[in-house]
């Protein structure tokens, strides 16, 4: 019995990354025969100070061929790092249709992010992207999409929000609930302004504690979510934010009648290789770097509780 077991995989077709990761075929990171560990050199073109500790970096690939052929799916991540310090996984926050640059939003927290924050215009950095699986945005066509996010969690959903807005006609509705601790901690203020102007996007902003001059909601994201009382019918709920927010948001979705299949989140883990080899980012048998970071709640229920 064991004989057949160990022999079985040997007969399997050797897949290329392109077979697995949608959209990866265009990026060098996924090319079979190429070196998936080798980052593309990028140049920092623009730095946006989003909040006191979050900056957004717009980068261009130094190799024009790579820049031209680069594409990714909303929800996919990239390994962005500084040579000499290391790299980390970040969600790609540029629009999927953007061809001029690739964008990451980084909160200053540890060693790599601190080094990234020290980058200035014209500096070189390394990027390996895209990686992981994106959101099944194609399958969601015709549905209402509800984004529930907090703090830097917006980065993980930014590309997806932009994608659905660009393809607004394909979706029945778009609702965004975005919470932050204080007004100055909202990222993408410039885009939020745009979203607010559109009447085909239902945007709710909330802060944890009341403060002067604040016009929108006040309250923790899960509470506001329950007050909003969205209908689960024909709706996909996506949440990302601090772990504690995700936990309570998922409970709220449950209360509101959302099924596990309707609810999505993206996970974060310590990662090194980013390509499912080095072993550390597993949750049970799933690697967050290649099987994720996007998981539906139904998929998460199958996994051991080791988040």
């Amino acid at each position: 019995m064991a004989e057949t077991m160990s022999g079985a995989a040997a007969g399997k077709k050797r897949l290329t990354a392109a077979d697995v990761v949608p959209g990866a075929s265009t990026a060098r990171a996924g090319k079979l025969g190429g070196n998936p560990y080798l980052p593309e050199i990028c140049t920092v073109r623009e730095i946006i100070q989003e909040t006191p500790n979050i900056r957004t970096f717009r980068l261009t690939f130094d190799d024009p061929e790579v820049q031209k052929s680069f594409s990714f799916l909303p929800g996919q991540v990239g390994q962005f790092g500084v040579f000499g310090v290391g790299e980390s996984s970040f969600a790609i926050t540029s629009r999927p249709s953007e061809t001029e640059y690739i964008q990451f939003s980084v909160m200053k927290a540890g060693e790599v992010t601190s080094a990234i924050h020290q980058l200035s215009l014209g500096d070189k950095a390394g990027v390996r992207a895209p990686m992981g699986c994106g959101f099944p945005v194609e399958a969601w066509k015709g549905k209402r999409i509800l984004y529930v996010m907090g703090g830097i969690g917006s980065a993980a959903l930014k590309a997806t929000i932009e994608y659905t807005i660009e393809h607004r006609v394909d979706y029945e509705g778009i609702s965004i609930l975005y919470g932050a601790t204080a007004p100055e901690n909202f990222t993408y203020q410039y885009d939020i302004d745009q979203w607010q102007k559109r009447d085909d996007i239902d945007l709710t902003l909330t802060i944890d504690r009341e403060c002067d001059g604040w016009q929108c909601d006040v309250g923790l994201v899960p509470h506001v979510l329950e007050r909003m009382n969205p209908t689960p019918e024909n709706t996909i709920a996506i949440t990302c934010g601090p772990p504690i927010m995700i936990k309570f948001a998922l409970m709220s979705f449950k209360k509101l009648g959302f099924s596990d299949e309707q609810t999505y989140t993206t996970l974060e883990k310590r990662m090194k290789c980013g390509i499912g080899i080095c072993g550390r980012c597993n949750v049970g048998p799933k690697y967050v770097c290649v099987d994720g970071p996007v998981f539906s709640l139904a998929e998460l229920r199958e996994l051991p509780d080791e988040l």
Partner: protein, 321 residues
Amino acid sequence: MSRQDEIRELARVALSTGRVDYFIGWREAYNPSEVVPAFVDEPDSVDQLVWNDLCAHNLTTFLKRKMNDRPNAKVGICVKGCDSRTLVALMQENLVDRERLYVVGVPCDGLVDRRKLEKEFSDEIIDITTSNGTVSVTTHQGLTRDFPKADYLLAACGWCRYKNAVYADDVAGPPAEEADRHAKPVWTDVEAFEALSDGERDAMLEEIFATCIRCFACINVCPVCYCWDQCVNRSRRPELVSQKVDAKGNLVFQMVHMLHVAGRCPSCGACDRACPVEIPLSLLHRKMNKEIYDMFEFEPGAKLDEMPVFQCFKIEDAFGD
């Protein structure tokens, strides 16, 4: 009553009276030539506990922070003389709660060096018994050979002056015969290395540390090395110790361990025995202890009311210029 019976009896009483929640001793592993730490929490299970010439494990290791997940449990523990010194070293720093500890001192007449015996055979050893100073070894293929125990003692037992525990609540049996504890220590092994020329010593260090695989067994098994997940050797930023595994980096790695346990390491030999590639780590530790003795006439973990020498000072210390 044999010492083994004494241990079992003390454990039984401690467990059944509720003095301890669990008791740490030794038991046989998958064959009688392997003895491993045993965790007993039922009075009925104490008969698995053994005491023989293979009980080399320093159980004090299991009192380290985060080593077990029952922080408030009352623990019973067996200690040999050398183990008790590591325990005392922890107590000197208030790192164990004496209220929740029940210490059984086990007098020890010297233990057998299993590694040394392994080298006598290419086959696997499956049984080791000792009687009257003779070690009987049986291999997997059924071969049995006898060796004089005196020639196969653990290196640490050869120079041991603490055959009885320095600190214990109860003692398993009558004390072992002990030479003068306060005699000047013997450093013949260290002196042999000091006699090497610079070139020889350098070559030797490079050779032995090239085999290190950084498994951290030496660090994790060390009873007085307790930083655990905060270990400076794992720190990447600043990358204080190179994460590259090479002879140089490995030597720094070991030196860092050594200097961090300076004044607390009594050379119990746990690191030596844990090392899967048999690096003679205690050599460095012994050398360090020799220097410490030379500087302060201090022996780590020998007295409860002392402070580790690097955590205190005297104004009249005469070091430097």
